[in-house]
């Protein structure tokens, strides 16, 4: 069954079709939220809220844009709200105090690439910390555009569609984000 047929079936109340739609996109939604929010709990909250909204509003989807764009609009709006709120409230520490010393919660999440060289690992850890700090200082929109382009591999035009803006505006956002990263990571690069 193609995607349009799946959507129509789900709109008609076919739960198996809805589940298939979720499974087609849920990993990338979860990955986007996890990379953006750096917390499995927050990423799960975004996941739940996104797909519940999709479920409740699927009948209002009129095929004016792709399902992917519509879904990502919901996800990115939720992520933007989350990031904006996070800017105002105190950040939750990612490092926990344990009996065996400090433990970074993000160490509990598997990384795509692992390497064994301890010196490189130390440098990489320091660099990672610096990158997290700078990413945290980007505006929510810069952060989102950067995330979608760099980690999700989305084209700038698609990002513009998702965010309801032009490709040019998305391009400027990406440029500002990479500029900030490059200048702040000066001595590492």
């Amino acid at each position: 069954m193609d995607e349009a047929a799946l959507i129509r079936a789900a709109q008609g109340g076919d739960t198996a079709a809805f589940e298939q739609l979720v499974r087609a996109y849920d990993q990338s939604v979860l990955r986007l939220a996890l990379n953006l929010l750096r917390s499995p709990e927050d990423a799960n909250d975004i996941y739940q809220e996104t797909f519940l909204r999709v479920y409740k509003n699927l009948n209002s989807f009129r095929f004016d844009c792709s399902f992917h764009t519509w879904l990502y609009r919901i996800t990115t709006n939720l992520c933007l709200d989350y990031l904006r709120k996070r800017k105002v409230r105190r950040e939750e520490p990612t490092v926990l105090a344990t009996a065996d010393g400090p433990l970074d919660r993000m160490d509990m999440v598997p990384e795509s690439r692992a390497h064994g060289d301890p010196q490189r690992s130390l440098l990489s850890k320091e660099l990672k910390g610096r990158i997290e700090k700078i990413l945290g200082e980007l505006t929510p929109r810069e952060r989102l555009v950067f995330e979608m382009r760099h980690y999700q591999g989305m084209r700038l035009r698609a990002i513009g569609d998702v965010l309801g803006t032009s490709e040019e505006a998305a391009k400027n956002c990406l440029f500002r984000a990479t500029q900030k990263l490059r200048s702040a990571l000066g001595d590492f690069l």
């Binding site: 799960n44 509990m108 990384e111 690439r113 990158i131 760099h150 440029f175």
Partner: protein, 307 residues
């Protein structure tokens, strides 16, 4: 092309977001300008560094999110069908009778009055009859209908009846039900609760076996954690040690792997544990767990590496 234009295009080249001719022009400029070439290299290094921080979604997180979503959607469906049922009933009534809209308030008042006087005037026995009859929640579906004599009708219905059973854990029937609930694949919450109760009865061999099974096989980390808690006093037993080794080497949850290290090292024959810890060091992707293994191996004066 001037440096400013070239530098603005550098990130776009890395993301493949630039027209072919423009990219050519930037590369021509880079061949001549050392400053911009260095900027290009720095952008390249930035991409490499950023790629290092990409997080993968763990299968556990994905499964947990899917399970929670399934429950939330189920609840939403039940809620909306209940709401729709009432609304559709009222709409159908309205359509069938076809009252003009100005009579609706009068209809509403009439319905309230009917309810009020109906409750007062109807004999109590008929209300009881309704409750005990078709509204019985244990009747899920009518399967067969047959007209009987003297105006009676015979119905064959499916019943799903719940009943409360209470008893002590040493009652074998209660324990059997709990053991079966602890393995119910459809409800992780039920499994967590059942294992939570069973873990206080580990002196019984069948309970211990169920906990070992849950520790090694349950898809839910909460259930595995409860099972591990229950098995703590038996960490030196061969079957439990084998399950703990399995957790350390194969469980996707780092918290469980960390606890497995503690239990394996505190009770077991150290010679047997060394190999498991070394193997874990070899394949473990999580820095914290590797560190814990290394610490444990050093405490045992064992080699950290396998040769």
């Amino acid at each position: 092309m001037i440096c400013d234009e070239a530098r603005r295009s550098i990130p776009l080249i890395h993301y493949g977001e630039i027209a072919f001719d423009d990219e050519e022009a930037v590369h021509e400029h880079l061949a001549l300008c050392a400053g911009c070439r260095s900027e290009f290299e720095r952008e390249h290094a930035l991409h490499r560094a950023l790629d290092e921080r990409d997080l993968d979604v763990s299968p556990f997180l994905l499964r947990r999110s899917r399970d929670l979503l399934a429950s939330a959607i189920e609840a939403e469906r039940a809620h909306s069908s209940a709401r729709r049922g009432w609304l559709q009933g009222l709409r159908a009534l309205d359509l069938r009778i076809g009252f003009p809209s100005f009579t609706r308030p009068i209809g509403a008042v009439a319905l309230i009055a009917l309810g009020f006087f109906g409750a007062r005037l109807l004999p109590l026995s008929s209300a009881i009859g309704m409750q005990a009859g078709l509204l019985d929640p244990s009747i899920s579906r009518v399967r067969f209908v047959e007209p009987g004599t003297k105006g009676n009708v015979q119905l064959v219905v499916d019943e799903t009846r719940q009943r409360v059973i209470s008893g002590r854990l040493d009652d074998s029937r209660i324990r059997t039900l709990l053991l079966s609930a602890a393995m119910d694949p459809s409800d992780p919450g039920l499994r967590v609760e059942s294992v939570e109760i069973l873990k206080n009865r580990t002196e019984s061999g069948d309970v211990r076996s169920a906990l070992v099974y849950a520790l090694e096989n349950d898809t839910n980390a909460g259930v595995r954690l409860k099972a591990l808690e229950g098995l703590k006093p038996y960490a030196s037993q061969a079957d439990v040690r084998k399950a703990l080794s399995h957790v350390l080497l194969a469980d996707e949850n780092p918290g469980l792997r960390a606890q497995a290290i503690d239990l394996l090292t505190q009770n077991s024959n150290q010679e047997l544990v060394v190999g498991v810890l070394q193997e874990s060091m070899h394949k473990e992707g999580n820095g914290y767990i590797r560190l814990r293994c290394e610490k444990a191996l050093r405490a045992m004066n064992a080699s950290v590496e396998t040769y």
